[in-house]
């Protein structure tokens, strides 16, 4: 299923990569050295494990191997006495914590200490002093463990461009003195949204690829959910983290039904709901209930609640559109945006008829903010179609086709356009 993990061992190492790197960065204070010794440790494992067997604690084995290698390298370099001392002290401290902690799961990697390090890594990679695209790239490279080539592919840029972007970001972290730490409780509310938005951007890029042929890139969606799960495990009391994980699960539950056998887009109302993933829906629903207990509920929890209402309905007709409109009203008050207005207008059309929704969409189109956003024009086309105004629908669909950058979505819009043209000719 995963297009880029041909080797099953790669999946195991990808899981360990973020943990390993997070602790090594803290020890050696240097992304490049940490990356080098982490890669060395994984190379050693590839060589040794098939012969000696997989160690009882693979994570701890990798960490010890990487640490030895770091010590060797630092010894050879001059003026690194201070870092070497830190490396020893930290390693001993972590060893103590690990030994005194109650025996964790069988695949234990000293999860508590290392979990803390991964949280540090999240906040460093998603620091607001870095440009947004660098935050996403760093998170995919260092927390998700994607190779530079894979990160480049995810964002459809040449590998050299992505490598440069990562080098510049690492230089900024080092030279500007971006700290390697978890923000204090008072800073956390200000800093957490940047981290959550990186995970959300990875997911939306997977789910509605802004460019290219495929509509859904499952490997990116899986990666976003994995990152959200890690964050949820590390920050279980943060309602918006819970809300984000719920949202991703509830939307991703529809993945299989969203594209037909030919790879064409299927709208929510036409989807075969028996193909929705009930496990993801159940997990998402219990998480969203937890997230909504927090008052006032945050934007991710509210969006998750809307996704849950969709997922609970057996058909588009039996969807509780009035409740969805109500949730959009709250969302609009909490986190206003033109996109929220657009979605709310579509929900109003479903609850109260196409004419009511069309009036709101016309206002939005006049406003200008969404003029180049193809879903607005596609939605206008659909409502005009339903109102029996095919000539105007054709104009709206044409504009949507013109602005759409995704091949599968464009094909869908062209079919709508063709159907509207047929109706116009017949009428």
């Amino acid at each position: 299923m995963s297009g880029w993990a041909a080797d099953p061992a790669e999946a195991v190492f990808r899981e360990e990569w973020g943990r390993l790197l997070a602790t090594l960065v803290r020890w050696v204070g240097d992304f490049d050295l940490a990356e080098e010794v982490a890669a060395d440790a994984i190379a050693a494992a590839v060589e040794r494990w098939p012969v000696d067997g997989v160690p009882e604690k693979p994570g701890a084995w990798l960490l010890t191997t990487a640490r030895r290698r770091a010590v060797d390298i630092l010894r050879r370099r001059q003026n690194y006495a201070a870092k070497l001392a830190v490396l020893k002290v930290e390693a001993e401290r972590d060893e103590l914590v690990r030994l005194s902690a109650p025996a964790a799961g069988s695949a234990g990697s000293g999860a508590d200490v290392i979990g803390d390090d991964r949280l540090r890594l999240f906040f460093t990679c998603c620091h607001p002093a870095l440009v947004a695209e660098a935050r996403v790239a760093l998170t995919l490279r260092y927390l998700a463990g994607l190779s530079t080539a894979q990160v480049a592919r995810a964002f459809l840029v040449p590998e050299g461009t992505m490598a440069q972007r990562l080098v510049r970001a690492k230089q900024k972290i080092g030279k500007a003195g971006i700290p390697y730490r978890v923000p204090s409780a008072t800073e956390l509310p200000g800093r957490l949204p940047a981290v959550l938005s990186v995970v959300y951007v990875v997911f939306t890029e997977a789910y509605a690829a802004s460019n290219g042929a495929a509509l859904i890139r499952p490997e990116l969606a899986d990666e976003a959910i994995r990152l959200a799960r890690i964050l949820h495990r590390l920050l279980p009391a943060e309602a918006e983290v819970t809300g984000l994980l719920a949202l991703l699960l509830l939307v991703d539950a529809r993945r299989e039904a969203r594209v037909d056998g030919d790879g064409d887009l299927v709208l929510l109302e036409d989807q075969d709901r028996s193909r929705w993933d009930q496990n993801k829906i159940a997990e998402g629903r219990s998480l969203v209930l937890e997230a909504l207990r927090h008052r006032p509920p945050g934007p991710y929890a509210l969006q998750a609640a809307i996704a849950a209402v969709h997922d609970e309905a057996s058909s588009a007709d039996t969807t509780d559109w009035v409740q969805i409109v109500g949730l959009y009203d709250v969302l609009r008050a909490t986190a206003p945006s033109p996109i929220v207005d657009l979605n709310r207008a579509v929900a109003i059309a479903m609850a109260h008829g196409p004419a009511a929704g069309l009036g709101l969409l016309d206002e939005l189109a006049d406003g200008g903010a969404l003029d180049r956003f193809h879903p607005l024009h596609a939605a206008r086309g659909r409502l005009l179609d339903r109102l029996g105004r095919p000539a105007e629908a054709i104009t709206a669909y044409r504009r949507a086709v013109e602005l759409c950058g995704n091949d599968a979505e464009r094909a869908f819009l062209l079919r709508c356009l063709g159907a509207a043209e047929g109706r116009a000719a017949a009428g």
């Binding site: 001059q78 003026n79 500007a176 003195g177 971006i178 730490r181």
Partner: protein, 117 residues
């Protein structure tokens, strides 16, 4: 690490009323005292207005001197603080507390450390 906090603001076109001016000056004095007392202060100054600035460049070894700042921007450099703090987050905290953040914007630049070895 040492950071230079650069204070940028739009140039005033008219002189504000005396009481407003005094209130603003009191904010600046209070901030300066904060920075000094905390022990992070290294240096700091206000600059003469931007129309007193001169820019020099060397073009093929020839000195080219022009009037004014290099770039035409709405916001101009008005002054600076040089502070010594552990990391960017701490520097950001000090910059955000500076009245300059409220009246314009603050640019935070780490000071280069050349390896003497």
């Amino acid at each position: 690490m040492q950071y230079l906090l650069l204070i940028y603001a739009e140039q005033r076109t008219e002189v504000p009323p005396q009481d407003q001016l005094e209130a603003e000056m009191a904010e600046w004095f209070a901030y300066t005292e904060d920075v000094r007392k905390s022990g992070v202060y290294v240096d700091g100054n206000a600059l003469e207005p931007v129309n007193t600035a001169t820019t020099v460049r060397l073009k093929a070894g020839e000195r080219v001197v022009t009037d004014g700042p290099f770039a035409e921007t709405r916001e101009v450099l008005g002054g600076y603080y040089l502070i010594d703090v552990p990391d960017l987050d701490t520097a950001l905290d000090w910059a955000a507390k500076c009245p300059g953040a409220k009246y314009g914007s603050m640019e935070i630049r780490p000071i280069t450390v050349f390896d003497q070895g």
